[in-house]
């Protein structure tokens, strides 16, 4: 496998990550095309390992994926540069957009548009929850999904349990109550 220069590697992560809209999943798909299919820097198995472990790593999966893929190619320096290149420009955009929101929120005309944006955020969050649950809602697994997701809603809203405690409780329950293919 060729070992890419750090500058080339950083430029690739910066270009793909900061120009792809729609969140981490489409960006990881775009990086697969570049890292595996087009340039052959990573073997498909290495990409799969980085992708899979990124799902198990706390925090933003996509940034963990960048760290893993770049670490496989260029060690710690590659991991650090890839994460910075993949996230810093987009973070600056976020700061500017937030500033714009604060400036415009006093403008009556802009308030209508902002009200529409805030309403769509509710739909987006509901859709995000559905995307997490959907893979588990199938024969033999829907009851487990319902109990774990529904139970979490009940624990947070019903008895005000802290979110971290809810997640820990769910993980412990999941360790013992496995889907059929996990046993």
């Amino acid at each position: 496998m060729p070992r890419p220069p750090l500058r080339t590697l950083s430029a690739l992560f910066a270009r793909i990550s900061n120009l792809t809209f729609g969140g981490g999943d489409p960006t990881m798909a775009a990086l697969e095309r570049e890292l595996v299919a087009r340039r052959g820097w990573l073997a498909p198995e290495q990409y799969g390992l980085a992708f899979g472990l990124a799902r198990l790593t706390p925090g933003t999966n996509f940034l963990a994926f960048c760290a893993a893929a770049a670490w496989l190619l260029r060690g710690w320096a590659g991991a650090l540069l890839a994460v910075l290149a993949a996230s810093a420009p987009a973070a600056v955009v976020v700061v500017w957009l937030t500033y714009g929101y604060q400036v415009l929120k006093g403008n009556a005309l802009a308030m209508g548009a902002i009200a529409g944006l805030l309403a769509s955020a509710v739909g987006m969050m509901a859709a995000a929850a559905w995307h997490l649950v959907r893979p588990h809602v199938r024969r033999g697994a829907w009851l487990r999904a319902l109990v774990l997701a529904g139970g979490s809603v009940a624990l947070l809203l019903g008895v005000s349990m802290s979110p971290v405690a809810v997640l820990a409780l769910a993980a412990a329950a999941g360790f013992f109550w496995r889907r059929e293919e996990e046993t």
Binding site: A54, A64, A79, S87, A119, A171
Partner: protein, 172 residues
Amino acid sequence: MNLLLLYLLLLKATVTSFSGLTSLPVVRNDLVLRYRVLTDRELNAAVVVGRTGPGPYGLYIVSVGYFVAGVPGAFCGYLALVTPAFLIVPILRYLGARARRPGVRSAIQAATLAAAGLIVASTVPLARDALTSAAAVAIAIASFILLIATRLDTLWVIAGSAVAGLVAGFLL
């Protein structure tokens, strides 16, 4: 708010989540309910901002930091966002094989399902704040349907919602 405390609170949120918006309940619990340095409306706006630009949805944490403490707060949010990413390297080196064990994988899946439930729970107060008219309810439902049933780019959903809100503001 003290910047170190802000960083630690945001880090707690990111390090206890396994994807972009799953840190939301912890952020709301700490910054909206406990310390009261952020409002539900600002948190809602941060979610929109995080999804409007390129990059991962977890970037909303940067916007949250900005709302709480300006540019230094945004920097705290950014550090809290990127710090957990490097945990994958030791995991990659030492725990790769163990992570495939059925029990560990099942525990992670269960935590992800719980995270979905927590997102739903966090949506309730945000909806109470944002869905104050029939037009807003219609926009929220349309956004949900478009995001789960089509491959339409999120940016178009966001742009469409802004235009719909603008038009509703004129007409109603």
